[in-house]
């Protein structure tokens, strides 16, 4: 009987500890930077880092995703992760537009902190506005294949003319 009482006591204590350690009064989030500007050229790959922090004293789950799903060439390195209290994590956002993408694009990277526990859960999230400018890559004239063919043709014509002049 005594052992049973002690056992119940220990289990209750452990439950209390578990409850107290997982107790969270609010859901907070820290995200840096608040805005992202990207300027790139076609065919180029660019990456930016985002730091996500958990300012709360309980473990929180985080999700990162792109709001505008029509832009499928923005990739998130870690779309889902959890952070211990006061822990931070750096995630990478990769911009790899297809060759034909030129112009200005707007998207939002959403970072949300949640602690689901049944019922009606509250989460806090940050939307990072992203402005991307993609310009056509400026090809140097001497790397243009048509220009090279013309120069070689011109040189051949000059050499032929010189040869004919010598023979005559």
């Amino acid at each position: 009987m005594k052992l049973k009482t002690v056992g119940i006591g220990i289990v209750s204590l452990l439950c209390c500890l578990l409850i107290s350690t997982s107790c969270v009064h609010g859901i907070g989030i820290g995200v840096n930077p608040a805005k992202i500007e990207v300027e790139m050229e076609t065919g180029e790959n660019v990456q930016r880092n985002i730091t996500v922090s958990n300012p709360e004293s309980a473990e929180l789950g985080f999700q990162v995703y792109i709001e505008n799903q029509s832009i499928d060439w923005i990739k998130i390195s870690d779309p889902e992760f959890s952070l211990e209290p006061h822990q931070k994590k750096q995630i990478t956002v990769q911009f790899t537009p297809t060759a034909g993408e030129v112009g200005e694009f707007n998207a939002k990277i959403c970072v949300v902190a949640l602690k689901p526990s049944g019922g009606f859960n509250v989460g806090s999230g940050v939307k990072i506005p992203v402005h991307i400018t993609i310009e056509k890559s400026a090809t140097l004239f001497y790397t243009n294949s048509l220009f090279i063919v013309l120069i070689i043709s011109g040189l051949l014509i000059i050499l032929l003319c010189i040869g004919r002049l010598r023979r005559s």
Binding site: H25, G26, I27, G28, I29, V31, N32, G118, N121
Partner: protein, 410 residues
């Protein structure tokens, strides 16, 4: 004759104790463990007296304290215990925001007497001797005293102390007066204590005293102190360049500075004293305890955190209770706290699987999708959420769903 000898011995003991008192009991201040605390935590409030920010004993005679909560309500902090070093009290911090702890220690009356060079064998450099309570001037031993000994001040000390704690690490509002008779007001952000010049203002009943009346001192320990004299607006700047806990104290700049009493020419004095007499009245001094913000730990860390969006939503769960179709729940207040250095825009997104929340959640009496507000930097928004269960809702049991409060740079 025997009685006379006993009185001399008693007077000598008084001098020794008076000396000890002068050395070790100048200041009374509030001690707390941290300025940033968790919501619903219990705050241990301690009042102590000592010197150089080192506690040396529980303040004697009349001690009291009161609490100003984030809503502005004032409640007394009752004494819960007393030990060798501290007068103890405490409270449960169950509100979000800033709490101010105000202490008052009214000590017994003291005499400050000019007794001349060499009058105190224990402190050869001191020109003054201190006596508590009543003194029989005709019987006291004046063997080593100067011929022009005289009472400089006869005063009753009133020691006002103050400290702050915050459940969200937001200290806006510390720069207002909490109506202590003599009060030190930090004009800069107390969370930046120890990072450089810090401006203070000292007010007497809400107004500054004349230029030069008040001296303000920042004390780290017995080796590190900085002082300044308050100007005509009661303002002074202290170079608090070391990241640590600081005790800020304010009192009369010198013996000629007084504001609650008057000079009295009839006070006891030696045969050769020809001066104007001594001050008789109350002595007021103030102390403000400022602790290093340990949650953020370093300045580098703080700067990094402030560079990005940081905000929180409280509570973590919304429980609208048991409702029937057609019912409207009691409103639940949600606090959105912007801890960023810029204003941000807050919106809401609700998801569920049964339409209860997406169709029935109202914020500030409008459907959740219409909610949008600007939360100022270091500020709050406190929208009310209520659940209006549609009349034709057929679901039952615990309904799951999620509400996300989105923040975005403006």
């Amino acid at each position: 004759m025997e009685k006379s000898r006993m009185f001399v011995a008693f007077a000598a003991i008084c001098v020794v104790f008076g000396t000890a008192g002068m050395v070790s009991a100048h200041q009374t201040w509030v001690e707390i463990d941290a300025m940033c605390i968790d919501l619903d935590s219990t705050v241990d409030v301690r009042l102590t007296e000592g010197h150089n920010f080192i506690p040396e004993g529980a303040p004697p005679f009349d001690v009291s304290a009161e609490l100003v909560d984030p809503a502005g309500a004032i409640t007394p902090l009752n004494k819960t215990d007393e030990d060798e070093l501290y007068w103890h009290s405490g409270f449960d911090a169950d509100q979000i925001g800033l709490y101010a702890i105000l202490g008052l220690h009214v000590d017994e009356s003291w005499w400050k007497v000019y007794t001349g060079p060499g009058s105190r064998p224990d402190r050869p450099d001191s020109l003054y001797t201190y006596f508590p309570g009543e003194v029989n001037w005709s019987e006291i031993n004046k063997t080593n005293w100067a011929d022009d000994w005289h009472v400089v001040r006869h005063y009753k000390p009133y020691k006002y102390s103050k400290a702050f704690v915050s459940t969200n690490c937001n200290f806006s509002g510390t720069d207002r007066a909490f109506e202590q008779p003599l009060e030190i007001i930090p004009l800069d952000d107390v969370a930046t204590i120890g990072t450089g010049d810090f401006d203070f203002q000292v007010l007497w009943n809400g107004t500054p005293l004349p230029n030069g009346t008040i001296a303000i001192t920042g004390t780290k320990d017995n080796e590190t102190k900085v002082s300044a004299i308050c100007d005509g607006e009661g303002k002074a700047t202290l170079p608090l360049n070391i990241s640590c806990d600081w005790l800020i104290t304010a009192n009369a700049a010198d013996d000629s500075a007084y504001w609650d009493g008057e000079y009295n020419v009839t006070l006891p004095h030696g045969a050769n004293y020809t001066g104007p007499g001594g001050f008789v009245g109350n002595d007021h001094r103030a102390a403000l305890t400022l602790l290093e913000i340990r949650e953020c730990d370093t300045v580098t860390m703080r700067a990094e955190i402030r560079s990005g969006i940081r905000f929180s939503v409280t509570p973590a769960y919304l429980d609208f209770g048991k409702l029937d179709p057609g019912d409207i729940s009691a409103p639940e207040t949600v606090v959105i706290h912007n801890m960023w250095s810029k204003d941000l825009k807050a919106t809401v997104e609700v998801t569920d699987t049964n339409g209860l929340y997406t169709e029935g959640l109202y914020i500030n009496s409008s459907l959740w999708s219409e909610f949008e507000t600007v939360v100022l930097k270091d500020g709050y928004a406190s929208p009310n959420a209520e659940l209006r269960v549609p009349e034709d809702f057929t679901g039952s049991g615990e309904m799951e769903g999620t509400i996300i409060f989105w923040a975005e740079a403006i």
